[in-house]
Amino acid sequence: MATSAAKLLPKEEYILPGTRSCAACGLMLTYRHALKALNPGKTIVAVPASCMTVLHGVYPVTPVKTICINNPFGATGAAASGIAAGLKALGHDDYTVLAFAGDGGTYDIGIQALSGALERGTNFLYICYDNEGYMNTGTQRSSASPAGAITSTTPVLSKLQHKKNMIGIIEAHRIPYIATASPSFPLDLFDKVKTARDTLGSRYMEIHAPCPPGWGFPNKDLIKMGKLAVDSGIHVLFEIKEGFFQLTSRSLNLAEKGKRKPVADYVKGQTRFKKINQQQVEALQDFVDKRWNEFLERHQKNS
């Protein structure tokens, strides 16, 4: 049953206020609702060097009421494998092993360890919070950054390549559960994390996490920007259960009766796209259209 209203979300908070995260952090909102869907008392989170490290606080205090194990940047998938193996060897079968890494730690430096963990069928949930760049080190380009975006390592020409098709790579591992989500749609996010929690084997989720200081938009527009990403098809909400693809939530509505907004509407509110030209906008629109049509075709085949 889909969670239909905010009041149905668990009351308990697992992140104590007064964190080190920026105001209006998309990751914070993501993690807040993801933890509600898990059982944080019986969850061990593997975290690489990232904004998650900052969120989890400076020794000897943490704001997060769960067990978190920090790891070097490229080690998340392997560390989660080790945690799962260690718990199994010790007979602790009641823990959920959660890996929680950014796009740099997933698409780039962590892809090898992640692929290994998925290929071995490690019993864990991997959540990639995608803020489309190395935000913690100062907004450098990652392979998840969108084409046309100015980053601190594409400062003049903007990024020339489109975002890597990470979901395609993950899908090639034939794992039982893959989903995308957005903190602008917390109910959908909550339901998917819950489904992922209760699925056995390797599970992967990718959550689009808008970053106001990194992308250059006002704090108050966090939710709006996340919604605009979905409405324009920049980010698409779906689930792939045992290879069975289905659009969900707002993306499903768009497929059924809505009309996608142009990506021009999405890029104009963000200073990272301040140098994007008409040709680049068209290329981005084309990229988004093709991907959307592929998703739509898969969805319609299954419905």
């Binding site: 067990i67 989660a80 494998s81 080790g82 260690g86 090898q112 290994g116």
Partner: protein
């Protein structure tokens, strides 16, 4: 009743891990370490060993996964060599900083480029400053015995231990090895105690960002800063000298043989000249010492078993009466000298006893080292000028 088998050091290492009842094994293949991981895989698949076995996709992941498994309380094992060990480098630091009692076998091999699969000790020596304990083995018996001792040492100190033995020379050469009985190993090595927090489901953040200076905890008590935590690692490594020695003594009480504690010696009682080395090269030096004794020189050998922590007091004690010291080793700190030579020289400087000191780099990338060569070069060092050189260079 003893169980003596004719086996390689690699088989000895795999059997040691089994006898220690390791719970998680994670490894990636590299010559000459591969037989260790293959034999353990078979032991796990045939249920002779009840452990989780992770066939990871890299050495970085092998070390990352055993650290994590150790952090939740499992007894863990891995093995590597050469470039594989170098690929673990980041995680080796992490293992020591996390204070995880990981035990690994390092099957010593020269590092590329260019590629060599043959033996020297450049790989483990290059990991010297990672905060690990390093034990070097002179033969296959010491490999099985040292791995068993390593778990006791590691779990007592919460410091990882690397048991190093020479590729091919030991790893692929069969010799008689006395296999310790399981009951005695169980007696020597009780199960690892549970780590704090996992059984209690206690919320915590392990290895977070830390400030340089102390910061108060919620109760107002000052918690240490980065340097204070790192100082504790250094202090515990130094305290480890005693623990390593005791672990070997306790072992000898139960099993009737010793690995030599921190440093072992050969004919040092009346020696005026010392050859100092580690690993199987130190064993080979005993043959060279015998050759030199035939020439009437009172030569003895000191084998360094514990390279980190460095057994300064033990070495100085062995060297207090000698007139010459000749260090022979299969590694080099490029741009200077061999690592052991540098460490020993600095120890002697502090002691005020300054014997004539020569050092040689030998046998890199599997270049054969004959006892006669070692004897000849040591003879020159004793009777001639002080020398710091590479032995047996064949083409300039």
């Amino acid at each position: 009743m003893s169980d003596v088998r004719i086996i390689t050091a690699n088989t000895a290492a795999a059997l040691a891990a089994k006898l220690c009842r390791v719970q998680v094994i994670s490894a990636y293949p590299i010559t000459p370490q591969t037989p260790v991981t293959e034999e353990l895989a078979e032991l796990v698949e045939t249920k002779q060993l009840n452990a989780e076995y992770l066939t990871v996709e890299s050495e970085h992941s092998a070390m990352a996964s055993v650290i994590a498994a150790s952090q939740v309380g499992a007894r863990v094992f891995t093995a590597s060599s050469a470039n594989g060990l170098l690929y673990m480098h980041e995680m080796l630091h992490w293992a020591a900083g996390s204070r995880t009692p990981v035990v690994m076998a390092c099957v010593n091999r020269g590092v590329g480029a260019p590629w060599t699969i043959l033996n020297d000790q450049q790989d483990s020596i290059s990991q010297r400053d990672t905060g690990w304990i390093q034990l070097y083995c002179g033969n296959s018996q010491e490999v099985i015995d040292s791995i068993i001792q390593a778990y006791r040492i590691a779990e007592q100190l919460n410091i990882p231990v690397m048991v190093c033995y020479d590729g091919f020379i030991l790893s692929h050469t069969t010799t008689p090895v006395d296999i310790p009985p399981q009951e005695l190993v169980d007696q020597y090595l009780p199960p690892r105690p549970p780590v704090f927090g996992i059984a209690e489901y206690s919320a915590m953040n392990v290895n977070p960002l830390i400030l340089s200076d102390p910061r108060p905890d919620p109760d107002g008590n000052m918690a240490p800063g980065y340097m204070d935590i790192r100082y504790r690692l250094q202090q515990d490594l130094i305290a480890g000298l005693d623990i390593i020695e005791k672990a070997d003594k306790e072992f000898s009480k139960l099993f009737g043989r010793t690995c030599g504690g921190l440093v072992w010696n050969y004919k040092m009682k009346d020696a005026t000249h010392a050859m100092v080395s580690f690993g199987s090269l130190a064993s080979e030096c005993t043959l060279a010492a015998d050759l030199l004794r035939q020439k009437g020189l009172k030569v003895g050998v000191i084998g360094v078993r514990s390279y980190r922590p460095f057994p300064k007091a033990g070495l100085l004690n062995e060297l207090k009466r000698v007139e010459t010291v000749t260090v022979l080793e299969k590694d080099v700190s490029y741009g200077y000298e061999g690592a052991l030579a540098m460490d020993l020289k600095s120890a002697l400087y502090d002691s005020g006893h300054h014997p004539k000191f020569s050092s040689y780099v030998v046998g890199l990338g599997g270049r054969d080292v004959l006892p006669k060569t070692l004897a000849d070069e040591t003879y020159k060092a004793i009777t001639g000028e002080i020398s710091h050189a590479w032995i047996d260079i064949k083409s300039q």
